[in-house]
């Protein structure tokens, strides 16, 4: 129980990478969804309208996550910017490379 109270207090006033973890997860997931959408689109399984809308919303998710960061110069912030600089129809492998880097940072923060 004491541990829960400690975590609760920590959540309320934390800053830095731990506080940014939720945004890193959000951007990592949105990037992975973007890669999946592009992969399925190139296989002809999605309508162009759906793909266009998903690109818009996923980009917005990454943008929101990026602007919520408390450490805008951190390595994960640069990865998010790199994701945002990709064109809508970027290759899934390219997007997944950034997603994997964000995932590595996320895992290291979670195990810290």
């Amino acid at each position: 129980m004491r541990r829960v109270w400690f975590l609760l207090a920590l959540a309320a006033c934390s800053k830095g990478p731990q506080a940014d973890l939720q945004y890193i997860k959000q951007a990592r997931s949105a990037g992975a969804e973007w890669a999946l959408v592009n992969e399925q689109a190139s296989a002809g399984k999605l309508t162009a309208t759906y793909v266009g809308s998903m690109h818009q919303w996923l980009r917005q998710q990454i943008q929101t996550a990026s602007s919520g960061l408390t450490e805008p110069d951190a390595r994960y912030a640069i990865e998010m910017q790199a994701l945002l600089s990709q064109p809508d129809d970027a290759a899934p492998e390219e997007l997944r490379a950034h997603v994997d880097k964000l995932k590595q940072i996320e895992d290291s923060l979670e195990s810290a």
Partner: protein, 411 residues
């Protein structure tokens, strides 16, 4: 019991079961914890069946709406608190549904999201104005059966059926860190809330009065609640299972409602995508109607106004004005530009906080011999009712700490 009416009633309940919150949390739960949260959906479904059956029985026997009886049974003060809590909860939920349906239209047409929200609100208001109650309920519920696409997609992707079946056994996965355990706890609470939204019960029981149920309809009520909601819950479980199979291994935690539609596109291509989006459209639009009408029913019943869609709109002017104003208020929330996913989070969080308050009067009324005579709660309904009341009370107490500790389930 008319078999055709019964079948239509059950199918309507199936198609109308899933709403934006269930869609979002089922997809997120599957990607985050695999099949381990299926049992929470199954368990919560029994809860909503228990309370829906009770509310339908109260409507059939007492022939009075729940909120009217509540005021007499609980007194004005406690009744007002309950009314206020349910209005806020339903209004946030209605806004989330309008935002959700506008998003789905955006995926289907590419037209601007906020414009779609305005157009859909106008369309929903027009549909309630023009259609009689039975048609409102049936049209959205039956068209929501497009959601079956998700169940067919699950069969097509050949999931590990043994593991999936294992998900029905209550469990907490081994080897989770403290943070992951808290996130698992948050998902449990959120799923209970999303499945047991109070608006479903108020809409269902008010519908019973609209359709003039009597004691002869008690068996129909029971069958509709058990089969309709039970089968409807399988659609939510299919969404969760598809997500576990397709998303969890590739770092995707569905962040927007449109991601769920990929579950049908991956096995079936464009047709699967469009059918899934249509299912989502009608299911969420139906939920928007239900949340708004549930609110209007509650207010009109509490204050003793003339109410019901069996009357012409101008024959119940205060009731008509109430549901129109509530729709516009929900649209106003969407037009502030607040993120739909945030609205879903708030709807689920606020609902679980007020859930005990909204279900307690129903539990008391259905157990009251003066009102219910020989149709009073039996030992099974009574036992299950109080068990679920204890569970939702515990969930309500845990909801806020879990929300903050896990950043709304984001770890």
């Amino acid at each position: 019991m008319n078999p055709l009416e019964l079948t239509l009633g059950i199918m309507t309940a199936v198609g109308g079961f899933v709403d934006i919150s269930e869609l979002v949390f089922a997809a997120k739960a599957g990607s985050a914890f695999g099949y381990a949260l299926i049992w929470v959906f199954a368990f919560s479904t029994i809860g909503i069946i228990v309370f829906s059956e009770m509310s339908g029985r109260v409507a059939a026997v007492a022939k009075q709406p729940v909120f009217n009886l509540m005021r007499h049974r609980l007194g004005l003060k406690l009744g007002l608190v309950t009314l206020a809590a349910s209005i806020i909860s339903n209004l946030i939920t209605c806004a989330a549904e309008i935002g959700g349906v506008a998003l789905v239209l955006n995926y289907l047409t590419g037209w601007p999201y906020l414009l779609m929200a305005v157009a859909m609100t106008a369309l929903l208001i027009a549909s309630i104005w023009v259609l009689p109650f039975k048609w409102i309920e049936r049209a959205y519920g039956l068209l929501g059966l497009f959601m079956i696409t998700f169940a067919v997609a699950l069969v097509a992707i050949h999931p590990p059926w043994g593991q999936l079946a294992g998900g029905f056994i209550p469990q907490i996965p081994h080897g989770l860190s403290t943070k992951e355990l808290l996130t698992f706890g948050y998902f449990m609470v959120a799923i209970v809330s999303a499945v047991m939204f109070p608006y479903e019960v108020y809409f269902y029981s008010s519908g019973g009065i609209e359709e003039e149920w009597g004691p002869k309809d008690i068996m129909t009520n029971r069958m509709t609640a058990i089969l309709g909601m039970g089968l409807g819950s399988l659609l939510a479980i299919a969404i969760l299972s598809n997500s576990a199979q397709l998303f969890s291994g590739i770092n995707v935690d569905p962040e927007i409602p449109g991601s769920a539609a990929l579950e049908a596109a991956i096995p079936f291509g464009k047709w699967g995508l469009v059918l899934a989006l249509l299912g989502m459209f009608f299911a969420i639009a139906g939920a928007a109607v239900e949340t708004c009408m549930a609110n209007a029913y509650s207010i009109a019943q509490f204050f003793g106004w003339m109410w019901g869609r069996h009357k012409k709109p101008w024959e119940a002017p205060r009731f008509t004005m109430t549901w129109i104003v509530l729709f516009l208020a929900a649209l106003g929330i969407v037009l502030t530009g607040v993120d739909v996913m945030m609205l879903v989070e708030f709807a689920v969080l606020f609902s679980i906080l007020v859930l005990p308050l909204t279900y307690l009067p129903l539990l008391l009324l259905s157990g009251d011999k003066d009102y219910m005579r020989e149709y009073v709660n039996g030992p099974v309904a009574k036992g299950l009712g109080w068990l679920y009341f204890a569970i939702i009370t515990a969930a309500a107490l845990a909801a806020l700490p879990l929300f903050f500790l896990t950043s709304g389930g984001n770890g």
